[in-house]
């Protein structure tokens, strides 16, 4: 195991130097950790051992076996179905979906469901939305937003290799709004210098070095999991010792070296008919080099230093005559940290938190920040050997037994078990998921537009801001990003509870006139409402309470029941 680890690390001398572990762990004694068969794993007393499916399970269950950590049982079919639908497509399953899945006796049904979900339109909707939050595809992309939206959907549909997509995002050049979608990622990060319409050189309207600095911090977080914000203003030494050991060793001019890959890149604001076409830029690479003495609007003054382009992780420079941004894309997308950061981020989405946390703040000199280094490296390598396929990562994670464990842990849980992923971690639905789940459970889609299309789900929109004040307020409370800042998670709050009870998003969707007419039998009606909202059949006790609710006024009772189901924690959480 250790040999494989070192093999991966020996990419370049510098990388190896940086990644040399601070200590060498003792050699692994257990051979079982490396096997892919049904080895005994210490589940709770009387619990069934879990069959390992792929390399993820090798590393997850192997580690648990080695450290004698008990784990939850496999999820039930109901648990799995709802979870898979939400994680892969952002939507709750329909009653038909559930019943079909539960009824099927196919031993491969889970794997087949995963395949179906990953080929669906909703999969593209959800992950386009996710990447639009991550890439902050909002108002600052101006009239290029729809082009960007379309482009994201296309690469998800085709499952284009992620390294190619990232290359496009880092090297796009041309007129941003109408021709080159990739360039929009850089273009949205402009830092304006002045508004002076008489400026002799339109180039001056954007402060190029400041813009480049901002963008370098951004893409380093997103694609390398490195937070270079601090060293963009000052050396790490004497500042970051308690924060990040790796960055403590870095100097500001090493940040400039990274920023300098964009040193020659210009954003020239377009002018039409005497007016600035705000948010429309032409991006090209014919500027002067990065100037380490340039004035700054948003940062500590630059007082000079080595700003020749060199990759911050291994010092690699552009080849002779190579366009700097092409060099950046080439070096970055082939660097192992890119693969580790990306797979870690996606892992966090499915498993609750990353193998490294925070996902955009690796400390490369702290090996114990990585809770399962073998797993992370295996994920990264698997990503590389499968042509950087995004769909492949999802399929691999979702098919693993580790992903399919239940959240229900019947023994005594210890916080020390957490990093072993010994159970499924419950998470609240994301803001668009809550909205769309309400729309689906009540059978009342929204009336939104995305570009020229009419759509019913928030997750189909290119600009969720256009969804109307009620929906916007609702989503903001549940943590929707404004797509100007990086996405953040919000903790549960009383305001969320209040909106779920009282917001028009819920209350104006509760008319069940047609459904109550279609289904005259109470038991069936109740069953349908449970399936629609929380994706499972009601228990006997739940049936009893629900039947009572329908007694006085059948329709009002059913509407109250649906409201109560939407307000129940099972609706709001992905467990």
């Amino acid at each position: 195991m250790i040999e494989i680890l070192f093999l991966l690390l020996a990419q370049t001398p510098e990388f190896e130097k940086v990644h040399k572990p601070l200590f060498t762990p003792p050699p692994q004694k257990s051979k079982e950790a490396a096997s892919l068969t049904t080895a005994y794993t210490p589940a709770r007393p009387g619990g069934k051992p879990v069959k390992r499916v792929n390399f993820i399970d090798t590393h997850i269950f192997g580690r648990m076996a080695k450290d004698r950590v008990p784990h939850a049982p496999l999820s039930t079919d109901e648990e799995f179905a709802r979870r898979a639908f939400l994680d892969a497509t952002g939507r709750i399953p329909s009653p038909e979906d559930i019943q079909q899945f539960l009824a099927s006796k196919d031993p491969q049904k889970r794997a087949k469901l995963i395949d179906t979900l990953l080929s669906s339109q909703a999969y593209i909707d959800k992950w386009t939305y996710y990447f639009e939050d991550l890439f902050r595809a909002g108002g600052r992309m101006g009239s290029g937003l729809n082009l960007f939206h379309f482009w994201l959907r296309e690469w998800l549909k085709l499952d284009r290799p992620v390294d190619e997509v990232v290359t496009d995002l880092l090297t796009g050049a041309g007129k941003s709004s109408f021709s080159v979608p990739g360039s929009l990622y850089y273009q949205r990060d402009f830092v304006k210098a002045k508004d002076d319409p008489d400026a002799p050189d339109a180039h001056d309207l954007v402060n190029q070095p400041d813009t480049v600095d901002e963008f370098t911090v951004t893409y380093s977080k997103v694609f390398l999991g490195l937070n270079l914000a601090c060293i963009s203003c000052h050396d790490g030494k004497h500042h970051l010792e308690k924060v990040n050991l790796f960055l403590t060793s870095k100097k500001r001019d090493e940040f400039w070296g990274q920023a300098a890959f964009y040193g020659k890149t210009r954003q020239i604001m377009n002018w039409e008919n005497g007016y600035q076409a705000n948010t429309e830029y032409t991006v090209d690479d014919t500027g002067p080099e990065y100037d380490p003495k340039a004035d700054s609007i948003v940062r500590v003054p630059r007082r000079g230093g080595d700003a020749s382009p060199r990759f911050i992780l291994n010092g690699e420079r552009p080849k002779e005559g190579e366009n700097y941004r092409d060099a950046l894309a080439r070096i970055l997308t082939t660097h192992p940290q890119f693969r580790r950061a990306f797979t870690n981020r996606i892992w966090a989405e499915f498993m609750g938190f990353g193998i490294v946390e925070p996902v955009d703040d690796f400390d490369l000199l702290k090996p114990d920040q990585v809770t399962n280094p073998q797993l992370l490296d295996a994920l990264a390598e698997d990503f590389r050997t499968h042509n950087h396929s995004f769909k492949h990562i999802l399929r691999t994670i979702m098919n693993s037994a580790a992903y399919q464990l239940s959240s229900r842990f019947d023994g005594e849980w210890k916080d020390t078990y957490t990093s072993y992923y010994a159970r499924k971690y419950v998470r609240m639905l994301s803001a668009p998921e809550v909205h769309d789940a309400i729309a689906l459970a009540t059978g009342k889609p929204g009336k939104f537009t995305s570009g020229q299309e009419s759509v019913g789900m928030v997750m189909q929109m290119s600009e969720p801001k256009k969804a109307g004040a009620d929906v916007q307020g609702f989503m903001k409370t549940f943590g929707q990003s404004n797509r100007d800042d990086m996405p953040k998670k919000v903790p549960p709050s009383a305001l969320q509870a209040m909106l779920l009870m009282q917001s028009k998003v819920v209350t104006e969707r509760l008319d069940l006139t047609s459904l109550t007419a279609e289904i005259p039998d109470n038991a069936q009606l109740i069953d349908q409402l449970f399936l629609r909202s929380i994706a499972r059949h009601p228990s006997k006790e739940e049936q009893t309470v629900a039947t009572k609710a329908l007694a006085t006024n059948r329709q009002k009772g059913a509407e109250n029941l649906l409201w109560a189901l939407i307000n129940s924690p099972e609706f709001l959480f992905n467990y």
Binding site: K194, D195, N227, K242, V243, I297, G352, F353, E357, P358, D360, D361, D368, T371, S407, R408, D410, D415, T416, T418, S419, Y425, V426, M428, Q472, G473, F474, K476, T477, G479, M486, K488, K489, P491, P492, S493, A494, L495, Q496, A497, M498, L499, M501, Q502, S503, S539, E541, E542, T544, V545, N560, L561, W563, A564, L565, S568, P569, E570, F573, Y575
Partner: protein, 466 residues
């Protein structure tokens, strides 16, 4: 290798959004254990205020054009500066209403900060201490600490959350979490422009809500077994629902959000105007809310600070703040206190106006604005036991340097920590208290001098009160 849960949790900005029941239900265990407190050197809190309203001017107010006026190359010709009293000159153009009310206000001009970045400065204003990424996940907002401290004073009839925020989500750091404290001390952050209080609009609507909530409670009893053994976050969400229902069910709540057209005009239909109007209503209702933090965003005028043609400039912001603050003081000053004979609600409400730092004195910069300036800036106080009409501290002729701190600590300038010590004092809270059972095991001091970026005194600004 054994890993502590707190080792896994994120640092920096993202962490500010993870509360006790965030992603991992992380500090749930912690929060259920009673806090281990110790009073580390007793302080003598005054207990002069029942309520505190903190108005945060987010983005940084220019001190030399406002309440520490300096005539300089940046002074605009239309400022119409008038002498309000001895040492107080105020632009009538920027503050027409407040110019009439300055007898109620005390100014501290000797504030100093180490911060120059909005995110950090605004974090400082909510947490009462500078951002330390290594600890940030467990640090609560001051409002949450206050909510915890005042919880024992809540009466049976109190339904409103102790800590209410207004537009906190527009602040650079958003609404800070409860850190290692129990999530029930969390802020209820209201955004009046979108949604407001979510209250039922009529008696019929209330009846419907009651019926539904009853069903939810009954149903939840039988649904609970399916959640057993899964995660504590389910349970905590039910707690939030119960609090939410109590709030929604109290007819005083929608009443607090009813604002007539005339009132809205008077206070101003903007973030700070509506926020102050809500604050007045919440204080008047006395239904549980004791600490209100209002954010007035968009003061960061690096460019065109006094350009009338711009949609956002200091004229507009000053005027908005001016009307809101003046009317809040006036209204609270007219309403008799139902608790104290001969006193008004203003006597019982400490209003603090804070901003993260000042703006560069002297001539305007190359883009006709003022940049950040941390070496001298100000804060304002009214009501709640403060002696009005004072000016504490003095800056030099240009507004660049503090020449007199104005308090008993001589050369030591006044910091945000001291502002919060004063707030704790006014509320009767021992500000030298520390809580020791934090996840990191590092004691959480209410006022933390050792956590400051430079020397800070751990005392209130006594000169505000005596």
């Amino acid at each position: 290798m054994q890993r502590r849960l707190s080792d896994i949790l994120p640092a920096r900005r993202d962490v500010l959004k993870l509360g006790g029941y965030g992603l991992l239900g992380a500090f749930a265990e912690q929060a259920l254990v009673p806090q281990a407190a110790r009073a580390a050197g007793r302080s003598n809190p005054r207990g002069t205020a029942r309520f505190v309203v903190l108005i945060e001017l987010a983005g940084a107010l220019s001190h030399v054009d406002s309440f520490d006026f300096k005539e300089d190359a940046g002074t605009q010709k239309d400022f119409d500066v008038r002498q309000v009293r001895n040492d107080l000159y105020l632009s009538n153009r920027l503050f027409p209403e407040l110019s009439k009310e300055m007898d109620k206000v005390t100014i501290v001009r000797s504030m100093k900060s180490h911060e120059v970045v909005h995110f950090r400065g605004q974090y400082y204003t909510q947490a009462g201490r500078p951002l330390n990424p290594a600890q940030a996940s467990e640090i609560p907002s001051v409002g949450s600490v206050i909510a915890m401290e005042l919880e024992s004073q809540r009466r049976e009839k109190d339904t409103f959350p102790t800590y209410v925020g207004c537009n906190l989500d527009t602040s650079g750091c958003g609404a800070l979490s409860t850190g290692f404290l129990h999530p029930r001390h969390s802020v209820l952050d209201v955004n009046l422009k979108s949604g407001g209080g979510a209250a039922p609009s009529s008696k019929d609507a209330m009846a419907v809500l009651e019926e539904r909530y009853r069903l939810l409670s009954e149903l939840d009893k039988v649904m609970a077994p399916n959640r057993a053994g899964r995660d504590r976050s389910f349970g905590s969400f039910r707690d939030f629902q119960n609090s939410a229902y109590r709030i929604l069910g109290d007819e005083r709540w929608p009443h607090a959000f009813q604002m007539s057209e005339a009132e809205q005009e008077r206070y101003g239909k903007n973030e700070v105007g509506l926020g102050c109007l809500l604050a007045r209503n919440l204080v008047n209702a006395d239904a549980g809310t004791r600490y209100i933090h209002i954010v007035h965003p968009d003061w960061d005028h690096h460019r065109d600070i006094y350009n009338h043609a711009k949609k956002s400039n200091h004229y507009i912001r000053c005027n908005e703040f001016d009307r809101a603050f003046a009317n809040l003081m006036r209204d609270l000053g007219t309403i008799k206190s139902p608790r104290l004979v001969g006193k008004t609600l203003l006597d019982e409400t400490l209003i603090v106006v804070a901003t993260e730092f000042g703006r560069t004195p002297g001539p305007l910069n190359g883009i006709a604005g003022r940049h950040h300036y941390n070496l001298a800036y100000l804060s304002l106080y009214a009501g709640g036991g403060t002696k009005p009409g004072r000016i504490i501290g003095k800056t030099d002729a240009t507004g660049e340097r503090i020449v007199e701190s104005g308090w008993k600590y001589g050369k030591q300038q006044i910091k945000t920590e001291n502002v919060y010590a004063s707030i704790y004092s006014a509320l009767g809270i021992d500000w030298r208290k520390e809580l020791t059972n934090t996840p990191s095991k590092r004691a959480y001091r209410y006022i933390d001098m050792l956590g400051a970026t430079e020397m800070a005194m751990d005392d209130e600004i006594a000169e505000l009160f005596v």
